[in-house]
């Protein structure tokens, strides 16, 4: 079986073509947004957002809306609130953990009142990329574009206030605005990512690839690029693996994500030769 036949076999199915497109969009958005999430040490907040989104998605089902919109509404609201409170809550991890558990609890309650929803619960928790249709791809592309455009807009102050918050404050960077906007962006990215790997496994695309990229790069743009590239490769190889093994896609992506991350940790730390700047 050659590489060419592997690909043509897969792409003979419409659902696989759709899955590749959707996973590609989600991976790029997750890899890039996740890079800043890891840089700011807020990965736990990202995790919590996805769980809160679960309550939103199941709640949306109760009132007859598509789960995606409930997911977006809840994660956005939670992201903004977390961003606004983050400086005041000294014991952040505990507060986030409590809210996270509460959100999952509510998700369960909403499911309880909506019994026919049980199959979709699995899709929400673990993703269902093989069921993605054209309309969903268009929605994901739009959401992804909004997410990345917003990120591009705040990138400069975001990098500055993440790396040197004390100095950024002195230079007049509105730390709180940047923090709130960033968590709103993360909320959108989580909503996109959860459509592919599910709310429980957003870490596989949002934290694994960027954390691995930051181990092997020292440049900002290089790191972003490698992070997005890792995320795409993991998503697409995961789909391929799932197609030929019949294992769940999210499991395959989770395995690849962990494999890449631990490989990058084991690799000796990259040392750059002294850069010789061109004479000017």
């Amino acid at each position: 079986m050659t590489t060419a036949t592997i690909i043509t076999d897969m792409f003979a199915y419409d659902f696989m073509v759709n899955a590749f497109a959707a996973a590609g969009i989600a991976a790029v958005v997750s890899g890039i947004v996740g890079y800043f999430l890891v840089m700011r040490g807020q990965t736990f907040a990202g995790h919590a957002l996805s769980h809160i989104g679960f309550a939103g998605a199941t709640g949306a089902g109760l009132v007859g809306l598509a789960p995606l919109w409930g997911l977006i509404a809840f994660t956005l609201a939670a992201g903004v609130i977390m961003g606004a409170l983050s400086e005041r809550i000294s014991n952040r991890d505990v507060a986030i953990g409590v809210v996270l558990a509460l959100a999952l609890g509510f998700g369960l309650l909403f499911l309880h009142y909506h019994t026919s929803f049980a199959t979709q619960a699995t899709a929400l928790l673990f993703g269902n990329v093989l069921a993605v249709d054209h309309a969903m791809i268009a929605t994901l592309a739009l959401l992804g574009a909004i997410t990345l455009a917003a990120l591009a807009f705040i990138m400069r102050p975001l990098v500055f206030s993440s790396l040197q918050p004390e100095l950024a404050e002195a230079k007049g960077v509105p730390l709180r605005t940047v923090s709130i906007t960033f968590l709103a962006i993360v909320a959108l990215a989580v909503s996109v990512c959860a459509q592919i790997v599910g709310v429980l496994l957003v870490f596989t695309l949002m934290v694994g690839p960027p954390a691995a990229a930051q181990r092997i790069t020292t440049g900002l743009w290089g790191g972003l690029f490698v992070s997005a590239a890792f995320a795409i490769c993991e998503a697409w190889f995961g789909l391929t693996m799932a197609f030929y093994t019949d294992w769940p896609v999210s499991f395959c992506i989770a395995c690849l994500s962990a494999f890449v991350y631990f490989s990058c940790i084991v690799l000796p730390k990259q040392t750059r030769p002294a850069q010789v700047a061109p004479a000017s």
Partner: protein, 273 residues
């Protein structure tokens, strides 16, 4: 025109007056050592100059203007310097990220920005250093890099908040030398806060001593005397001069070296206000 002028300034933090009715004038080009026990208001004073804290009374002027956030004429090295241990972004990119970091948009740096970064790195001898991640540098190396960052954009006033903390004696001297050399060359006014006076003795023009809500600016001979320091520390202070060094003692203890002991008493006295 003075570089920094305080006119009857009172600065409050959480309802407590850290400095009250403080007046002084720092001339352009002066190297000022800012001294005083922990909690005396060294950082608070710098935050007022940066425009991050509005005085509850009096006026602060920086080069004749009311301070405002993001004044490009001020270079700042904060005391609290967050370095995330897992962050492996190289020093050069960290510095570049601070350039125009208050503007919106993509974090791209122009060739002019990059040239400015290189020139400043060169001036403090940190060019090769800048290729390494901040988290992998020693305290002294990191300090040199962040000093370079504070100097970018040719500031006229440099606020260095405890730049000697966590450096060994030799590194401290190197750091002071670099600051002195660059700032003399560029005629930059410097406010250099420190715990210990002696290392700065050969470098500073005047000393700004803070304590007990007061501030006294003057030459070392004028300010570092038993009567003035006793008032600032709120306790009996003896000043001993020996072999070109000055020791500030309270009941036989060197207050600069046993700062936390003193600090405890200092905080305590504030509760009675």
């Amino acid at each position: 025109m003075s570089a920094v002028a305080f006119e009857h300034v009172t600065l409050q933090l959480g309802g407590r007056a850290v400095l009250s009715d403080v007046s002084f004038n720092i001339e352009a080009g002066e190297f000022i050592g800012v001294l005083g026990p922990n909690g005396a208001g060294k950082t608070t004073l710098m935050r007022a100059i940066l425009g991050l804290l509005t005085p509850s009374a009096g006026r602060v002027k920086v080069f004749g203007q009311t301070p405002e956030c993001g004044n490009p004429a001020i270079g700042y090295l904060p005391q609290l310097r967050t370095v995330l241990p897992d962050l492996r972004i190289r020093g050069r990119d960290v510095i570049a990220g601070s350039l125009n970091g208050e503007r919106w948009g993509l974090a791209l740096s122009s060739s002019r920005d990059r040239l400015m970064v290189e020139e400043t790195l060169e001036a403090v001898g940190a060019r090769e250093l800048a290729d390494r991640p901040l988290a992998e540098m020693s305290g002294g190396e990191r300090q040199r890099l962040l000093l370079a960052q504070a100097l970018i954009g040719s500031p006229k006033l440099l606020l260095l908040d405890e730049p000697l903390i966590s450096l060994d004696a030799r590194r401290q001297e190197i750091a002071i030398d670099v600051v002195r050399r660059v700032c003399r060359e560029r005629k930059i006014t410097v406010l250099f806060s420190a715990h210990e006076l002696n290392q700065l003795l050969g470098t500073l023009d005047r000393v700004l001593y803070l304590g007990n809500g007061h501030a006294v600016l003057g030459s070392v001979e004028e300010v570092v005397t038993a009567p003035i320091l006793s008032k600032l520390f709120g306790t009996d202070i003896q000043v001993l001069r020996a072999d070109g060094h000055i020791f500030v003692m309270s009941r036989g203890l060197d207050v600069e070296r046993t700062d936390h002991l003193h600090d405890h008493g200092h905080d305590h006295s504030h509760h009675h206000h």
